[in-house]
């Protein structure tokens, strides 16, 4: 995809995020300007405390910025309350977390079906069929009836990716998806992202692992809440 001819799918303009506590205030993001285009595999890297996770929270609408604008799929996410943000998220993006964040009382299959249920897009049988397809794509279809705690870390992250893909979003946001995995499993998980990017998904992946960072189509580096490279 040629970035110069397409509109950005995600655009951040002068985004600032300040965390206030009783002791002091911390500026986690300090004037971030960023454009992400359809089909890009953007990797955000940086040291611990550089603001990577905060950036993920801003892009996904899981948290609100202190100032600045965030546009996702031409919609002003920065103006949205949590309710509209959740709907936009359900429609346009899937999120993958470092600690997987699976619901422990739902089976593998039900975890994937849950976002579809919330979005209310398909019938229950179609949800089930699509969820099984996604589990097959990430090679854990055999575990569909198990609870997440019965899976290995790699399998849980695959499940997390399948869940993120449930509503066929244009964007996949992943916060340190390989942080809890060994290197072989981590590579396999990145392969899945790579394949999804080739299929046209826009990937926004945060990592501190330089080898993984190199596998994206573009890389930016954060330091002290600013893009430094």
């Amino acid at each position: 995809m040629n970035s110069s001819t397409a509109n950005p799918l995600i655009e951040l303009r002068s985004v600032v995020k300040v965390y206030n506590s009783t002791a002091d205030s911390v500026t986690a993001l300090n004037g971030i300007d960023l454009q992400i285009f359809p089909g890009e595999f953007l990797v955000v890297t940086g040291k611990s405390g550089s603001g990577k996770t905060t950036l993920v929270n801003m892009v996904t609408g899981l948290d609100r910025s202190t100032s600045g604008e965030i546009w996702v799929d031409s919609e002003p996410l920065h103006k949205f309350g949590s309710e509209r943000a959740a709907k936009l998220r359900g429609r346009t993006m899937g999120v993958v977390f470092q600690s997987f964040e699976l619901l422990p009382t739902l089976t593998v299959l039900q975890n994937v079906m849950l976002p579809m249920d919330f979005a209310g897009r398909a019938s229950r049988s179609e949800q089930r069929k699509r969820a099984m397809n996604l589990l097959e794509q990430v090679d854990i279809a055999d575990h569909a009836k198990k609870l997440p705690t019965a899976l290995s870390g790699g399998q849980q992250q695959r499940l997390s990716i399948a869940r993120a893909m449930a509503n066929n979003p244009a964007i996949l946001v992943a916060d340190e998806p390989t942080g809890s995995l060994d290197s072989a499993t981590a590579n396999a998980v990145v392969d899945i992202f790579k394949k999804l990017a080739q299929e046209g998904k826009t990937i926004f992946l945060v990592t501190h692992d330089k080898d993984i960072a190199k596998r994206g189509s573009r890389m930016i580096t954060l330091s002290d809440g600013q893009i430094v490279g």
Binding site: R89, L103, L114, F118, A166
Partner: protein, 802 residues
């Protein structure tokens, strides 16, 4: 096939059975207590009224000195405004108990036991009607005369005829005061048996039912008309009284019980509400991370809220499934037990739907409302914060002065405290202050109610003590007529052990109201008023006690002024004595019940206006020892002595018996209070267990961290047990303080309902310590079980726990 979100609800409900059980139990105990109190209150108030109505209670009673026959009864029945009338013979006799003691007994003689039309008496056991030369005893009276069915007892009639008579069975006569309350047993015989005792045929007690018995003023007019007719027919009327419509004999006590139940019901309601709110709030706190995850994958507020509302509704339904049936069974048991004190059978145990509707409303609506509060507050934080905050760092310890204080940094003895688990427990307790507040409110309310129940019980006992201490004597003897006071006093002093005597005169009197209507019978007691008098001042509610130079001063029971609105302190009261009206001045009111009102006036004045100067019909005796056995032996010796010198004793009572009877009138209330104490201990205890167990479950991950850094299982458990004890002790201390106003309120209300003045306040140290022991035991149990379960998991399992 359900939607995926409902699988989560279902799995959350039934996947974690321990948590579900704790939540359901916590909710159901509160609902159960509420159900018992509401249902028992309804059964008692409606069931007793229904049972009382079934005996066709009379509107009033007219007693005659001369005997009358069936023709007179017929003439009363034919009166225009008399719906029904019936008559009995009422004889005050004496009965000898198994221990040889003589007791008063009222013998009723009924002409046709199968056609009692008013104040119906029914067979309870044995033959019906009573066989010739045998007696039926009212069922509540057997214990008073210390006899069983089949026993032969010696009965002495006023004509001095003594007969050994067999108790053939028992009767049920709910129109009478229960025998254990006024100490007088009741017996039922036929006219043939009466003849055997040497008495002639005839009636002396007329029971009248007015055409509109529900209208007291009307009923009073009708009873007065009957009385007038009797007087015109030549009968002397020593007593006529009109009953309160539909009110059973111990209505004041019943009202006290109903009031107490109502107030405890309200307290249980609050307790139940806080238990539900606390439980649901704990559940939602536990689920905060998952709520964040669901938001992250696109769940809207309404969708997630819907899931949790269904979940708490399911908890509510499960809690109601336990609480309602157990509540009904408990309420019926409690109602039957309390009805037993009133000597009533409750025919109808039906419960109105309102009782269940209130429980259902609280069981279903309240959890939903309760879940809205924490849910809406969780909406204020972002999904990112919701997910990240579920970890070891939850709670905001360290930010305010309490935390700074508890951190120990500024307190020398805490800096040097070697028992780390104590410090950790205390700090943990204060970490989540919102939860702590909610838990403490619930437990404090439970503690305060439990201690208050004990306080009311103590106050009742204290009140009885206050009532009894008016009589500075051991034995009271009433004679069949007046005798020379000097004669009986000097004679009594010759009996060994008697140290002091005093006399009084007692007369039946009636209040004459401004509309010329008359009250029921009132006992006028005229004691001597001087420094050596054996009657000391009763507890004065308002005004003052009698003085030696008082003439027409009277002191009346405080409840009497409530029943007779025309009367007031400092005002006049017209009393009819020996057929003549006399005006007295009310100079004081004393703490007392109005079941059988006693008014006190000066001996000297009464003997003057009734031409009985120097006479007395009652003697008070003080003994050198006061133990019951000694006093009982002295009582027999005094009776024998007076019989020998020709002074006929008609009634004897000892202060010990008076105390027992006074306490018996509160038995029902005390029993209710004990049941309530047990119930509240159960509710508070299970609530405490539930809340604490949920608190520990919620911190299973923290247990993992403690173990991961090397804490032994015992060390981990001790942190949580100590934390439980800290919370338990705090709730105990706050409950002990809150119990003061609550018990004062209960004392005020109960005292007003039963006696017209608040009970004598007493704080129960026994209740305070009992609850302390219960709280500590439950705190340990509540924290130990989940902490032990958590410590049995591997560190990896615990850290993965959600």
């Amino acid at each position: 096939m359900f939607r995926a979100r409902w699988y989560k609800v279902f799995n959350d409900l039934f996947g974690n059975k321990t948590r579900t059980l704790l939540i359901v139990l916590s909710m159901s105990v509160g609902l159960f207590a509420l159900g018992i109190i509401l249902s028992a209150r309804t059964i008692l108030s409606e069931g007793l009224a229904e049972s009382f109505a079934a005996i066709t209670p009379s509107s009033g009673t007219v007693r005659t000195i001369e005997l009358f026959d069936e023709d007179f009864i017929q003439s009363i029945r034919s009166m225009k405004d008399v719906q029904e009338a019936d008559a009995r013979r009422n004889i005050s006799a004496r009965v000898q108990t198994a221990s040889g003691e003589w007791k008063n007994i009222t013998i009723f003689v009924v002409a046709d036991y199968d056609d009692i039309r008013v104040n119906k008496v029914a067979s309870q056991s044995g033959p019906w009607p009573p066989p010739e030369r045998e007696v039926l005893i009212e069922r509540a009276a057997l214990s008073v005369i210390e006899a069983q069915v089949g026993d032969v007892v010696l009965v002495k009639f006023p004509n001095d005829v003594e007969r050994k008579i067999r108790i053939a069975g028992t009767a049920y006569d709910p129109a009478q005061l229960p025998a254990q309350i006024d100490g007088t047993p009741y017996g039922y015989i036929t006219f043939d048996t009466l003849n055997w005792f040497g008495e002639s045929y005839g009636f002396n007690e007329l029971h009248v039912l007015a055409t509109h018995p529900e209208d007291k003023a009307w009923a009073q007019q009708v009873v007065n008309r009957v009385k007038d007719k009797a007087e015109k027919s030549g009968y002397t009327i020593p007593l006529s009284m009109t009953a309160e419509p539909g009110q059973l004999p111990m209505n004041d006590v019943l009202q006290g019980i109903l009031l107490l139940m109502g107030m405890l019901g309200i307290l249980s309601l609050f307790l139940s509400i806080f238990l539900v709110v606390n439980t649901v709030s704990a559940l939602l706190t536990q689920q905060q991370r998952q709520i964040g995850v669901m938001k992250a994958v696109g769940g809207s507020t309404l969708q997630i809220l819907g899931m949790y509302l269904v979940m708490v509704l399911a908890y509510g339904v499960l809690a109601l499934l336990i609480a309602i049936p157990f509540g009904v069974v408990g309420a019926r048991g409690l109602s039957n037990a309390l009805a037993g004190f009133f000597n009533f059978d409750i025919y109808s145990m039906d419960l109105p739907p309102q009782t269940f509707l209130i429980q259902i409303a609280i069981g279903l609506v309240l959890p939903v409302l309760a879940s809205l509060v924490p849910f809406l507050s969780s909406l204020r934080i972002s999904a990112a914060e919701a997910m990240s905050s579920y970890s070891i760092g939850r709670g905001r310890f360290g930010k305010n002065w309490i935390d700074q204080l508890l951190s120990g940094a500024n307190i020398w003895f805490m800096r040097n405290l070697s028992i780390r688990s104590i410090l950790l427990s205390v700090r943990n307790t204060f970490r989540n202050k919102g939860r702590l507040t909610l838990t403490l409110i619930t437990l404090t309310l439970g503690s305060a109610t439990f201690i208050s129940v004990f306080n009311v019980r103590d106050s009742l006992s204290h009140t009885v003590d206050d009532m009894i201490k008016w009589f500075n004597c051991d034995i009271m003897l009433t004679f069949d007529r007046t005798y020379l006071a000097d004669k009986v006093e000097f004679s009594a002093l010759t009996v060994p052990g008697v140290t002091q005597t005093d006399v009084w005169i007692q007369l039946p009197t009636r209040l004459i109201r401004s509309d010329d209507s008359e009250s029921g019978m009132i006992y006028m007691f005229a004691p001597t008023v001087h420094p050596e008098s054996l009657i000391v001042s009763p507890t004065i509610a308002e005004g003052r006690w009698l003085m030696p130079d008082d003439d027409n001063a009277v002191v009346v029971p405080s409840a009497f002024l409530q029943d007779e609105p025309e009367l007031h302190l400092g005002g006049d009261i017209v009393l009819k004595l020996d057929g003549k009206e006399h005006t007295f001045k009310i100079v004081g009111t004393y703490v007392g019940m109005a079941i059988l009102p006693l008014v006190y006036t000066n001996y000297e004045y009464i003997t003057q206006i009734t031409n009985r100067i120097g006479e007395a019909d009652a003697l008070m005796v003080k003994m050198e020892r006061h133990d019951p056995a000694y006093v009982d032996a002295a009582t027999r010796a005094l009776e024998d002595h007076f019989e020998q010198i020709g002074v006929r004793v008609s009634m004897v009572s000892t202060i010990n018996n008076e105390r027992t009877e006074a306490e018996a009138s509160f038995d029902a209330i005390v029993a209710l209070l004990l049941v309530m104490a047990i119930l509240l201990a159960l509710v508070g205890g299970l609530g405490l267990m539930g809340t604490m167990s949920i608190n520990v479950l919620e911190r299973t991950r923290e247990i993992g961290v403690l173990r991961a850094i090397g804490a032994p299982n015992r060390g981990v458990a001790s942190v949580f047990i100590l934390e439980g004890i800290v919370i338990g002790l705090m709730s105990w201390a706050m409950g002990a303080v809150l119990a003061i106003p609550i018990s004062q309120g209960l004392n005020q209300a109960l005292g007003q309902a039963v006696m017209g003045v608040p009970l004598s306040y007493s704080y129960s140290i026994q209740g305070l310590w009992t609850w302390l022991v219960v709280v500590i035991l439950l705190s340990v149990l509540a924290s130990f079980i989940p902490a032990r379960n958590a410590s049995r998991l591997t560190v990896r399992e615990v850290l993965a726990y959600e």
